[in-house]
Symmetry: C2
Subunit: 205 residues, 2 copies
């Protein structure tokens, strides 16, 4: 068969991360948002995603909506399945970061052990992992309760609910701490953007 002469160049073996990131003018990393249910993780990540996309930063958000319905639709809520849930998300975040994407992973992820494992996946691969503690108090979250989950947990209709009858282990080494109970959403987003600018992930405007 014949193919038209096209300008095709390649070398043997894998392209390096430096080649890929350099050519695409991108710097991959993962921002891992952790916090109680209704603390504002996804709201902040969602607003941040918009700001980054406006700035032409390749980014992608992983959250319950696109993970629990797909990749992790064969996992339940046993201790084992919860750990596997976060493990898989950590691995997928790492792949996205490796691709050059600013990955916004937004999950309650209540256990230090699981978050530390996700961090280790990244660091072992030479990738940056930033833990963002979305630090809203249980009182604030329970008052918001947009899906009525805290109410059900208090009534015993949901078992093992983080903050009620299952612990939330607050990060002690988070790179960024947001206070959505005190600061308006816009301030939280600005703090994320400024953090990414300072890290050299996103060019300052």
């Amino acid at each position: 068969m014949t193919t038209k002469a096209t300008n095709i160049h390649f070398h043997e073996g894998d392209i390096t991360r430096e080649e890929r990131w350099g050519s695409l003018n991108t710097t991959g990393c993962t921002l891992w948002f952790t916090g109680l249910s209704a603390s504002g993780k996804s709201t902040i990540a969602c607003a941040l995603e918009q700001v980054l996309v406006q700035r032409k930063v390749h980014c992608f958000r992983l959250d319950g909506d696109n993970i629990r319905m797909g990749l992790n639709n064969n996992l339940g809520f046993s201790a084992e399945d919860r750990a596997e849930n976060i493990r898989r998300i950590g691995e997928v975040s790492k792949l996205f970061a490796d691709s050059g994407c600013v990955t916004l992973s937004s999950f309650i992820s209540p256990y230090t052990k699981d978050r530390d494992a996700a961090r280790k996946f990244h660091e072992d691969a030479g990738l940056k992992f930033f833990e963002v503690f979305v630090d809203a108090s249980l009182e604030v979250c329970e008052q918001r309760d947009p899906k009525g989950l805290y109410k059900k947990a208090r009534a015993g209709e949901i078992k093992g609910f983080t903050g009620i009858d299952d612990p939330y282990e607050a990060p002690t080494n988070a790179e960024l701490i947001l206070k959505p109970g005190d600061d308006p959403l816009e301030d939280c987003v600005v703090q994320c953007v400024e953090f990414l600018e300072k890290q050299g992930i996103v060019p300052a405007e």
Copy 2:
């Protein structure tokens, strides 16, 4: 706390795929390379990745190296685990395609059922999935045998090896068929690039 006045705009709710792809000037999709072991899937995908990156196309390659060692490191080679292996890869490919990435997934994926499921994940999400059949004959692959796997399979040291004692179900509806036994690598890569140009995924040069 105070934050400097930064140019921050966002709306409520999720950013749409159109907003993301439009702003990043990208079109996500998955190219799913299937074929026998040693058929040349990864070699072609690897060379294609380099060409796309040179053209500033955001792309990423998923293959055994970055999947079996990470996300799927808790899966073996039972029939059930093989299906789960491809299911997870299909879901992750879908996420990458959704992000705006040209996803190059390169796995033997011998069963039609599993490949069709991966296709369905994409199509249900409104994403394009292109099956690329890397059609090298068993004879060609067995002669190459870079890792000595066919030899071991013939000797009975590896059980359930695709093409030897486990079937390879060739695609009947692949969008692109490559013949790396007949055509040199460069021609196979050109065919992929021209296909992506024709599909409007990659701008013609």
